[in-house]
C-alpha cells in the first residue's frame, strides 16, 4: 500500500534469495560431512591452532588427494578450541600451538591418544640483520633493547621460559627488562615486524612464516623445549578414521615432510602404512591379561597386531635368531635382560608370584614349600624348558633348599601353568607350583598358598618397545594402552599385581626418562 511496505517486502525477497544461494552453495560443495549419515566419506573435523595453518593446509591437500576423506579444519586460538571441544562434544582431532594444551585436554578427559609431531625450541627473534647485535643473554637486558615476551600466565612458552629461567635464577632480571607481555607468540613476532620491539622470545617454528625475522639461540634457553603434538578427541565418533589421518600426519614420509618444509624440527615418525602391522612377543601367562586390551587397540586404531604368546625362553631364542618384534612383554626381568640390544629400556608393568596351589580346603594341610617334600604328595610343576614358570620354580626351590625333596615328589611337568590347574581340577595332583595368575578363575576348587620369604618367587613383567621399529609410535600407543588404568583392571582381575603408579604424559612417564622418546631414539635433544 505504501512505499515503505514495498521496500520491506523487497528486502524479504532479497533475504530469501540470499538464503537460497547459500543453501545451494553448501550443498553443491564437496562437503557432505555435515550430514551425520552413514558412509565412509564422512569428513573429519580438526581443531587446529592458527599458527599451524600453513603446514596443515598443505598436508590436508595431499591427504584428501590420496584418500578422498575430507578434512574440515577449524582454526582458532588453542584454548578457545579446547573449550569448543568441551562444550560442543564434537570434533575428531586437536592440534594446539604446543603440548601444554594437550596436557590440559588429557586432564579434562577430552583427549585420548596423542601423536608427537615436532619439537620447538625457544629462541630470541630479532629483525633480519640483527641490528641491535644481540648475541648473549645479557644483551637482552640492555636499556636500548625493547624486549617483548609472551605472558607466563597465558602462553605456554611464557610458562616454560619462566620455569626454566627461575631454576637458573635469571627470570627476575629478564622480567624486569621486558617491555611488554603479549598474549601469544604471534603477537610477539608481529611486534617485531612492525617495529614496536627489538627482540622477542618465540618458538623457532614460528619464525618459518616470518621472513623478515631471524633467530638468535641462547644457552640459557636451550632447555626451553616444547612439542607440537596432535591429539585424538576422546569423544570422536570416528576414532579409526581420525587415527588414520593422525598417523598420516605423524608419518615420517608423509605429514612430517610437510612439517620439515615449513621449518619445524620433526620427530622421527613411523613409516606410513595404510594398515600398519605390529608384532608383540609376550609370555603366555600374560595372555588373559592383555589380549582383550590388544584387541580393543586393533579395533580402534585399525592396526593389525600379531600376538605371539609363548614360553619366554622360546621367545628369547627366536629373537636371538633374528626375529625383531616391535614390542616384548616378558614374564620376568631376567628374560628381558637377555635381549638388551633390542630392548635396552623397559617398564615394569605387573607382578606375579609363584604360589602353591592346593585343593580347596587344603586337605593335605600344606603351609610351605617344605611341606611339598612330604611323603606321598603328588606335586606338579612346569617343565623346565617349556614352561615359563619352571625356571623360576627351580630357582625358588633351590633358594628354599628344598629342590631335591620336592623334585622327588614331582609327578608331572607340564608345558604350561594352565595344564597344572586342569590336573588339579581332575584331582590327579595334590599340589602344584604355578603363578597366581594361572589360578585366576579357579577359586571354586583351588586355594593358593603364598610362598613366604623368597624373593625370587616373585616375577616382575617388563614391557619394552624396540628402538629401531618402523612403527615405533604405534607401538608406543599400544604400550600406553597396555599401561592404562583399563588394562590395569584386566591384570588385577587375572591375579597380577600392578606395578605402575605414576601418571602418564603423552608418551612419556613422568619422573623417568621418556620411554617413548628414548625407545624411538630421538636425536635432536
Amino acid at each position: 500500500m505504501n512505499r515503505t511496505l514495498i521496500a520491506l517486502a523487497g528486502s524479504v525477497v532479497l533475504l530469501v534469495g540470499l538464503l537460497l544461494v547459500l543453501v545451494g552453495d553448501s550443498s553443491r560443495g564437496s562437503n557432505t560431512g555435515h550430514k551425520s549419515t552413514t558412509g565412509t566419506a564422512n569428513s573429519l573435523v580438526l581443531f587446529c591452532a592458527a599458527s599451524n595453518r600453513a603446514v596443515m593446509e598443505s598436508i590436508r591437500v595431499d591427504y584428501e588427494q590420496e584418500f578422498g576423506t575430507s578434512i574440515q579444519i577449524q582454526y582458532g586460538p588453542s584454548q578457545t578450541l579446547l573449550s569448543s571441544i568441551e562444550v560442543s562434544g564434537t570434533g575428531d582431532l586437536y592440534l594446539p600451538a604446543d603440548e601444554s594444551f594437550i596436557e590440559i585436554g588429557i586432564e579434562k578427559l577430552l583427549i585420548a591418544e596423542v601423536l608427537p609431531l615436532a619439537t620447538m625450541r625457544a629462541v630470541v627473534a630479532v629483525p633480519r640483520g640483527n641490528p641491535k647485535k644481540i648475541k648473549v643473554f645479557d644483551d637482552l637486558l640492555r636499556s636500548d633493547v625493547r624486549l617483548v615476551q609472551a605472558s607466563p600466565d597465558m602462553a605456554a612458552i611464557g610458562k616454560v621460559v619462566k620455569k626454566s629461567l627461575q631454576a637458573s635464577g635469571k627470570w627476575e632480571q629478564l622480567a624486569k627488562a621486558t617491555v611488554a607481555f603479549r598474549i601469544n607468540v604471534n603477537d610477539v613476532a608481529n611486534d617485531l615486524v612492525i617495529g614496536a620491539a627489538d627482540a622477542g622470545l618465540v618458538y623457532d617454528a614460528v619464525l618459518s612464516s616470518y621472513k623478515d625475522l631471524e633467530a638468535v639461540e641462547l644457552d640459557e634457553l636451550s632447555t626451553v623445549i616444547s612439542n607440537v603434538s596432535l591429539g585424538i578427541v576422546a569423544s570422536s565418533k570416528q576414532p579409526r578414521a581420525a587415527l588414520h589421518f593422525a598417523r598420516y600426519v605423524a608419518a615420517r614420509d608423509r605429514g612430517l615432510l610437510h612439517y620439515e618444509k615449513h621449518g619445524f624440527v620433526v620427530k622421527k615418525g613411523d613409516v606410513w602404512k595404510e594398515t600398519p602391522e605390529l608384532t608383540i612377543f609376550a609370555g603366555s601367562m600374560l595372555r588373559p591379561a592383555i589380549d582383550a586390551t590388544i584387541k580393543a587397540f586393533e579395533e580402534r586404531e585399525g592396526i593389525r597386531v600379531s600376538r605371539v604368546y609363548n614360553g619366554c625362553g622360546i621367545l628369547v631364542a627366536q629373537m636371538k635368531t633374528g626375529q625383531h618384534p616391535d614390542a616384548y612383554f616378558a614374564c620376568d626381568k631376567e628374560f628381558m635382560k637377555q635381549v638388551p640390544d633390542l630392548f635396552p629400556e623397559s617398564v615394569d608393568v605387573s607382578q606375579n608370584e609363584l604360589v602353591i596351589l592346593v585343593q580347596k580346603g587344603n586337605p593335605k594341610k600344606i603351609s610351605s614349600l617344605k611341606d611339598l617334600g612330604r611323603e606321598g604328595l603328588r606335586v606338579g610343576i612346569g617343565h623346565e624348558k617349556q614352561c615359563p614358570t619352571s625356571w623360576l620354580t627351580q630357582n625358588t626351590f633351590r633358594e628354599g633348599g628344598v629342590l631335591k625333596e620336592i623334585m622327588a615328589n614331582v609327578s608331572v611337568q607340564t608345558p604350561s601353568g594352565e595344564r597344572l590347574v586342569n590336573q588339579m581340577q581332575t584331582g590327579s595332583l595334590d599340589a602344584a607350583v604355578a603363578y597366581l595368575s594361572n589360578a585366576a578363575g579357579a577359586g571354586d576348587f583351588l586355594d593358593a598358598i603364598q610362598i613366604q620369604g623368597l624373593e625370587c618367587s616373585i616375577a616382575i613383567q617388563p614391557l619394552a618397545i624396540a628402538v629401531d621399529s618402523p612403527n615405533a609410535h604405534s607401538a608406543t600407543r599400544l604400550f600406553q594402552r597396555l599401561c592404562s588404568p583399563e588394562s590395569q583392571a584386566n591384570f588385577e582381575a587375572e591375579g597380577f599385581r600392578w606395578q605402575i603408579d605414576r601418571k602418564f604424559k603423552d608418551g612419556s612417564i613422568v619422573g623417568d626418562s621418556a620411554i617413548g622418546d628414548s625407545a624411538i631414539g630421538d636425536d635432536e635433544q
Partner: protein, 304 residues
C-alpha cells in the same frame, strides 16, 4: 545595512523631538546602536571544529597508515586468493541476511516496546540489550552451549542435524546467527527510539477511522518510520560486518566454509601474514564505506 541606517535616521528624528533631559539617554542609545558588534563567532567554530577534527584526523591517519603499510601488490594477491574471495562473498551475503532479518524482527519488537506497557516490559527491555553488553566471546560461547546442551538426552544441534537435515554449529547458518544476535539488538534499539518519536495519536485516530491495530501499524506507523528503518539496517549491517568473537567460537573459521573477512584478518595475523591482514582490513573498510554510502542515499531519498 539599509535597516540600521533607517533606524539611525529615526533615532535622530526622535532625538530632535525629545526634551533635553532625555537627550543624554538617547545619546547613549545611539552610541550603542551605531557601533558594530565586537564579538565574533569565530572562536565558537574553531573550538567545535577543533575537537571534532581530532577524531576525524585520527581515523584518516589510521587508514593512511594501513594503506602505506601494505602495497598494491599485496592487495592484488589478497583479492586473488580463492579463500578470500569466498570469505568476501560469504561476508556480504551473511551481513545482508543478518541485517534484513534484524530489521524484520526489530520493527515489530521496537514497536511493541515503544507503544505498549505490558507486564514484564522492563525485563524484555533489558534482555534485548544484553547482546550489546555481553563480551563477544561470551556470546559465542553461550550460543555454542545452547546448541549442545543436553536436555534429558535431547540436543538442539543433533536434532537439527539429524531430523531437520542441516546442522548449525561450524556451518554458515552459525555465522548468520552469531551476527544476527548482536545486530538485532542494535536494530531494536534504533527502531524503538524511532517509534518513540512518532506520534501515537496518529495511530489512535486511524483506529477511530476504522483501522485495526495491525492496519494502523502498517499504514500509519511504518511509513513514518522509514528513515529509522534505514538507520536500523545500517547499524545492523555495520555491526554484523565487524563481528568476530562469536563467529570464531560458534561458527569456527573454516576456509571456504565459514570464513568471513573479520576472521580472515585474525587467521592471517596468526601466521604472521601482516600484509595480507592489513589488505583484507582495507577491503573491509571499502565494503563498509560503499554500503554505508548506499544506505545513506536510500535514507535521504524519500524524505518525509
Amino acid at each position: 545595512m539599509v535597516q540600521s541606517l533607517a533606524t539611525q535616521q529615526l533615532a535622530t528624528q526622535q532625538l530632535a523631538m525629545m526634551s533635553s533631559s532625555d537627550e543624554r539617554i538617547a545619546d547613549d542609545q545611539v552610541k550603542r546602536l551605531g557601533q558594530p558588534r565586537q564579538r565574533s563567532d569565530v572562536p565558537f567554530f574553531l573550538a567545535m571544529g577543533g575537537l571534532s577534527s581530532c577524531f576525524i584526523l585520527l581515523i584518516v591517519l589510521m587508514l593512511a597508515a594501513d594503506v602505506m603499510f601494505t602495497s598494491f601488490a599485496d592487495f592484488r594477491t589478497a583479492l586473488g586468493k580463492p579463500e578470500i574471495q569466498a570469505a568476501f562473498k560469504l561476508t556480504v551475503m551473511s551481513c545482508t541476511i543478518a541485517a534484513i532479518a534484524s530489521l524484520l524482527v526489530a520493527v515489530p519488537l521496537g514497536y511493541l516496546l515503544s507503544r505498549y506497557r505490558f507486564p514484564g516490559r522492563w525485563i524484555v527491555d533489558t534482555l534485548v540489550d544484553i547482546p550489546i553488553v555481553l563480551p563477544p566471546l561470551v556470546l559465542g560461547l553461550s550460543l555454542l552451549i545452547l546448541f549442545h546442551l543436553p536436555i534429558f538426552g535431547w540436543e538442539l544441534e543433533r536434532w537439527l542435524r539429524d531430523d531437520v537435515g542441516f546442522g548449525v554449529t561450524y556451518q554458515w547458518p552459525a555465522v548468520i546467527l552469531a551476527q544476527f544476535s548482536v545486530s538485532c539488538a542494535f536494530a531494536v534499539r534504533t527502531m524503538r527510539v524511532t517509534f518513540d518519536q512518532i506520534d501515537p495519536r496518529a495511530e489512535d485516530v486511524a483506529r477511530t477511522l476504522g483501522c485495526t491495530r495491525g492496519q494502523a501499524f502498517l499504514i500509519i506507523a511504518v511509513p513514518q518510520a522509514a528513515r529509522g528503518m534505514v538507520a536500523a539496517v545500517t547499524v545492523a549491517w555495520a555491526r554484523a560486518l565487524g563481528e568476530f568473537g562469536p563467529i570464531l567460537v560458534f561458527a569456527g573459521a573454516t576456509r571456504m566454509r565459514t570464513e568471513v573477512l573479520s576472521t580472515t584478518v585474525f587467521l592471517e595475523l596468526s601466521v604472521g601474514e601482516l600484509n595480507s591482514a592489513v589488505a583484507v582490513s582495507l577491503i573491509m573498510v571499502m565494503i563498509a564505506a560503499i554500503v554505508l554510502l548506499v544506505l545513506r542515499l536510500l535514507g535521504a531519498g524519500p524524505a518525509t
